[in-house]
């Protein structure tokens, strides 16, 4: 009895010894990148057992709040922090882009098999409640050869605040002056018309159940669930289908114009480029410029750099578009600027 106890104690001590050198990093935030973040953290931990990462997908707003309060080491967000929010934490934040996504326009029109095409003004006017029938002349004019039914348009949007809604309303704000003045952009807005579905699954379920419905979801969600989604006309006048390539093209179009000193707080919607899908999104990790714990800072930088290089290869299989290559040196420069004071 006594010997077993001693052995158990010895085993405990052995297990505890490496734990002393272990670094635990906690993060919280956006739900959209949760799948790839979990995959990254697991894969990275396999190669670096001393660094344990943990990410809670509580939503971008919660992520920003917990990051600002200092309850987590890093945050995740689909919408960049506002200037006032950054000022509130004395500017001690860096936005590091990680992966790209897209918002797709899904619809349920029984009898219509062709992929529909949407112009920016048609999408805006549908969500403003000004286009109410599917056989509206403005929808028909860009969908030659498709017989559109005379059914009512039922708009479905996200009920809860979400980065997906932020990207979608950000896009509508850019392409429609009326949307910009009447509604604006935000994780949740005052929707002029429509039903609210909870989550990507709530929106897609409502669209699937309601003939004549139109809504929007993440690209990854729509492809996994094989939903019908439309092409959208981009700023170059081309109708583009949302794919990982057209999303990366959108990012390249926007980011090529940024200087090397950018803070990465840019919107990818309505970009230049003939191949670019116009409702593209970016998601960020929020990290501090200075950490009190140098070991934490070092481990975090190591993880993010791994995610930005090797980790990017994991993105396409999970429905995320990788970042354009030309961003890497800029991100590397940002990561190198992170400091940790060893004096604790």
């Amino acid at each position: 009895m006594k010997t077993t106890r001693t052995i158990a104690l010895a085993a405990l001590l052995c297990a505890a010894a490496p734990a002393a050198a272990q670094v635990q990093l906690n993060g919280a935030g956006a739900t959209f990148p949760n799948i790839i973040y979990s995959k990254w953290m697991y894969t990275f931990n396999q190669a670096n057992p001393t660094i344990v990462l943990n990410y809670q997908s509580i939503g971008s707003g919660g992520g920003i709040r917990q990051f600002s309060d200092g309850t987590v080491d890093f945050g995740g967000t689909d919408a960049p922090m506002s200037d006032s929010a950054i000022a509130a934490i004395q500017g001690n934040v860096l936005h590091i882009p990680t992966v790209l996504g897209a918002v797709v326009v899904i619809y349920n029109l029984p009898g219509v098999t062709a992929q529909l095409k949407f112009t920016p003004d048609v999408i805006a006017d549908i969500f403003l409640g000004k286009i109410t029938k599917w056989n509206d002349a403005r929808i028909a004019s860009v969908n030659a050869g498709v017989t559109l039914p005379a059914t009512d348009v039922v708009v479905v949007h996200r009920a809860e605040g979400s980065g997906t809604s932020f990207a979608f309303t950000d896009y509508l704000t850019k392409v429609s002056p009326e949307w910009a003045s009447q509604v604006g952009k935000g994780a949740s807005v005052n929707w002029p018309v429509g039903l609210g579905g909870r989550g990507n699954e709530g929106v897609s379920a409502t669209v699937n159940q309601t003939p004549g419905a139109i809504g929007y979801t993440e690209l990854g969600y729509a492809t996994i669930n094989k939903m019908a989604y439309g092409q959208v006309r981009n700023s170059a006048g081309k109708f583009v289908s949302p794919t990982l390539e057209s999303v990366t093209a959108a990012a390249a179009g926007v980011l090529s114009k940024l200087g090397a000193n950018t803070d990465f707080r840019v919107s990818l919607t309505n970009p230049d480029g003939a191949a670019a899908y116009p409702i593209s999104t970016m998601t960020w990790l929020l990290v501090h410029k200075t950490y009190a714990d140098a070991a934490k800072a070092k481990a975090l930088v190591q993880f993010i750099w791994w995610a930005e290089t090797e980790g990017q290869a994991l993105a396409p299989s999970l429905g995320y578009a990788p970042l354009p290559q030309q961003l890497r040196p800029w991100i590397q420069a940002r990561l190198k600027s992170i400091t940790g004071s060893a004096a604790q």
Partner: protein, 339 residues
């Protein structure tokens, strides 16, 4: 909330049928004897006070967090309908309306159904049917609410759209309550889901209340020449009315606070429409939906104020129910003491 009788009562609380041999009250004699009794008493007092304190703390916390919104919008928060997080203008009227209306529809459907189940089980069902029926009805309470919500989206709403709403509109379409195009997610769907969810609560408590009605009540009515139905209607139900109201209020409390199932089927629209076919919103659903992405302080504060209103409404409903039970109970009714 019933507070436990913590203070040692001077008179022995023993049942009247048993004679107490000693004239000395038992509690008093224990007081000086055993230190562990005093510890026990202190612990129990602490536990009993913890819950009321928790409620007060909850109220204060909600109030303090809601203060910025209360200061900015004042009472107009209660009756304006704009909910615009971009412009930071908030009004909770649609959610208050939606919460009360969906709970009202739920009671309208659930009360007859649940009382019917309870009466059937206690008064009419053959003995071998009683337990299985009671068990199955109570099983409804064990289903997670998100499952109800999904069932609502995939089964109830298509069913309503094809078979229920067309005849409803044909007959009652002229009233303001069934106006407009039915898209599925609506106040009606939310109310029906809630009704199904609260039936087991109302039925289970009602059954216990009816079982507690003494057989003499039924026998007296039957002896006067009443049919079985008349005996239930004139003797059993009035006798248990306080308990039955308590059962209904329990169901109502559950309906007011239900979140997940409702948000999946009610349409989540900040709008007031008398028509049950139109989408609506409830307070609990709005808080659950919008809390995680409420980035600005005013937005967060407005959501806290919604929570505060929901809290106050629940307290008012319960207080009202308590009053009702006191008024109805007067004297003999079963269950009045328990509540």
């Amino acid at each position: 909330m019933t507070t436990l009788p913590i203070e040692p009562v001077p008179a022995p609380p023993s049942p009247p049928s048993i004679e107490t041999p000693s004239a000395e009250p038992r509690w008093t004699s224990l007081r000086g004897v055993n230190a562990s009794d005093r510890v026990y008493k202190t612990i129990l007092t602490g536990l009993a006070l913890a819950l009321p304190l928790l409620i007060v703390a909850l109220f204060l916390q909600l109030f303090v967090s809601a203060l910025p919104a209360i200061r900015r919008f004042g009472f107009s928060f209660l009756w304006t309908s704009t909910w615009d997080p971009v412009a930071e203008i908030y009004g909770a009227a649609p959610m208050i309306f939606g919460t009360l209306a969906s709970s009202f529809i739920a009671l309208l459907i659930a009360v007859p159904l649940a009382l019917g189940v309870a009466i059937f089980i206690t008064e009419f069902a053959p003995r071998w049917v009683r337990q299985p029926v009671a068990f199955l009805v109570e099983l409804l309470a064990a289903i997670p609410s998100v499952v109800y919500g999904l069932w609502g989206v995939f089964v109830l709403i298509p069913f309503l759209r094809s078979y229920v709403v067309p005849p409803l509109k044909a007959v009652f379409g002229w009233t303001p309550f069934f106006q407009g195009v039915f898209y599925g997610n609506s106040l009606l769907a939310g109310g029906i889901i809630l009704a199904i969810m609260i039936v087991p609560y109302i039925a289970a408590v009602s059954r216990e209340v009816l079982l507690a009605v003494p057989a003499s009540q039924r026998e007296a009515a039957l002896g006067m020449g009443a049919t079985r139905w008349e005996a239930v209607w004139t003797a059993v139900l009035p006798y248990g009315r306080a308990g039955l109201i308590g059962a209904i209020i329990l169901g109502l409390g559950r309906a007011l606070g239900e979140t997940m199932a409702v948000t999946l089927v009610i349409g989540n629209r900040h709008d007031i429409s008398l028509s049950a076919l139109q989408p609506a919103y409830t307070m609990a659903a709005a808080i659950a939906n919008e809390f995680s992405e409420a980035t600005t302080n005013m937005y967060l504060s407005a959501l806290f104020e919604v929570g505060l209103i929901l809290f106050v409404i629940t307290v008012v409903v319960n207080a009202f129910a308590r009053l009702l039970i006191w008024r109805v109970a007067r004297g003999t009714a079963v269950g009045s003491k328990a509540l």
